[in-house]
């Protein structure tokens, strides 16, 4: 009996800690997001939130639904596997609202990005020294970008 009296202050201290723990548990139950732990140790709802972020690139499938003629031209040529937005840039806004003018890419900077000659590039990849090759004449004077090989009697 007297041990309880003389250790009374220790029980009080234990009581304080116990109360703190209980408050923590209550706060925890209220504050932790509901979807936490749904799939693992994280907020499950975060997955859907990230999946909901807006698109900027429409994807070539969307382009081809309307521009099937271009898709056909492309399919037979060297640029068959180059997707539309690789050159035209992100156009999801145009896909959602076709009245938005996507503009035209600038061939002066566009073509050389891939085709400017550099020993760092894979050997088999077609490369030109633009100045030597055309002397400043824009690439699309001779090459049709959607099917760039010069069909009849071209030197290259």
């Amino acid at each position: 009996m007297s041990i309880f009296r003389d250790a009374g202050h220790l029980f009080r201290l234990a009581g304080v800690y116990l109360a703190g723990t209980l408050i923590f548990l209550v706060v925890r139950a209220v504050v932790v997001p509901h979807s936490f732990g749904q799939y693992g140790h994280y907020r499950g709802a975060a997955i859907a939130e990230i999946a909901d972020r807006p698109l900027h690139f429409a994807g070539h499938q969307a382009c081809e639904t309307c521009h099937s003629d271009i898709a056909q031209t492309k399919a037979g040529g060297m640029h068959a596997h180059v997707n539309c937005e690789a050159c035209h840039g992100p156009l999801a806004n145009h896909a959602a609202d076709p009245s938005i003018d996507p503009g035209k890419p600038d061939v002066a900077t566009l073509c050389v990005r891939c085709h400017a000659v550099s020993a760092a590039r894979p050997r088999a990849f077609p490369q030109v020294d633009a100045d030597q090759h055309s002397g400043g004449v824009p690439c699309n004077t001779c090459h049709q970008p959607h099917s760039p090989a010069i069909a009849a009697g071209g030197s290259k």
Partner: protein, 244 residues
């Protein structure tokens, strides 16, 4: 080639419908996407990479990546003869605007290495996150919950590949999401969409019809820093031993 206004009016409903289907739903309630049916990865075909920087620009446009930080970037390696231990590597602005030209008579070999988050199956970054703000989804994509991340940067330290950074405005960890908002809608990632040579290909390891299976059967592929045992899921074809 040019679409006239008349064409456009005819095409408009079709385009709108196609676009609706693209935007359909979230992974949770979209009937056509079940997380457990996918296990995403990427294939990088080094001999096809021309260092044009399209992927870097596409990523920044698609994901609003802050200046000076990169969810994907391209490194150009220069290995002189046998000196594999000392490659000269550059990545000017992440390769965003391409690379300076190299003259034909230059010695040694050159090649480009696109880098991105490896979406590791045993990722050190998710292991060290103290609060569960970064995680691997059931379909194998490592994501950051930016509403939960407290920005301690422990994950940045833990990533062996330097793929993470602290977003300077949002002050939370940021990284490649493998365009999770695209791949769950049946699209490919922005970098793969914009790659002109097919050097980057999104792959679903759980899909038996994915061309990656045929590719892996016939090629020597490697992951980055295999000694880190992170279960990296970005596979590199024809990767040189000097690459770190």
């Amino acid at each position: 080639m040019n679409i006239t206004r008349r064409h456009m009016l005819i095409l408009l409903p079709a385009a709108a419908m196609a676009w609706e289907s693209v935007l359909a739903g979230t992974p949770e309630d979209a009937p056509n996407y079940t997380m457990s049916e996918h296990w995403w990865s990427m294939l990088i075909d080094i001999p096809r990479c021309i260092g044009c920087g399209n992927c870097v620009r596409a990523c920044q446009a698609e994901n609003d990546v802050p200046d000076g930080f990169f969810r994907t970037w391209i490194e150009r390696y220069h290995v002189d003869d046998w000196n594999m231990a000392n490659p000269q590597v550059i990545s000017p602005d992440g390769g965003k605007e391409g690379f300076p030209s190299v003259a034909e008579d230059d010695k040694g070999k050159y090649f480009f290495v696109p880098k991105l988050c490896n979406h590791c199956a045993d990722s050190p970054c998710t292991q060290v996150c103290p609060v569960g703000a970064t995680f691997i989804t059931p379909d194998g994509v490592v994501l950051v919950d930016q509403k939960y991340c407290m920005g301690c940067a422990y994950c940045v330290q833990a990533c062996p590949y330097g793929c993470r950074y602290i977003h300077p405005q949002k002050r939370v960890a940021d990284k490649c999401t493998l365009c999770y908002h695209r791949i769950t809608k049946g699209l490919t990632t922005a970098c793969c969409e914009a790659c002109p040579t097919g050097a980057r290909q999104l792959a679903d390891l759980k899909n038996p019809n994915d061309p990656i299976h045929a590719f892996l059967k016939t090629h020597s592929v490697q992951v980055l820093k295999p000694q880190m045992a992170t279960g990296a899921k970005v596979f590199y074809n024809d990767l040189d031993g000097s690459v770190r």
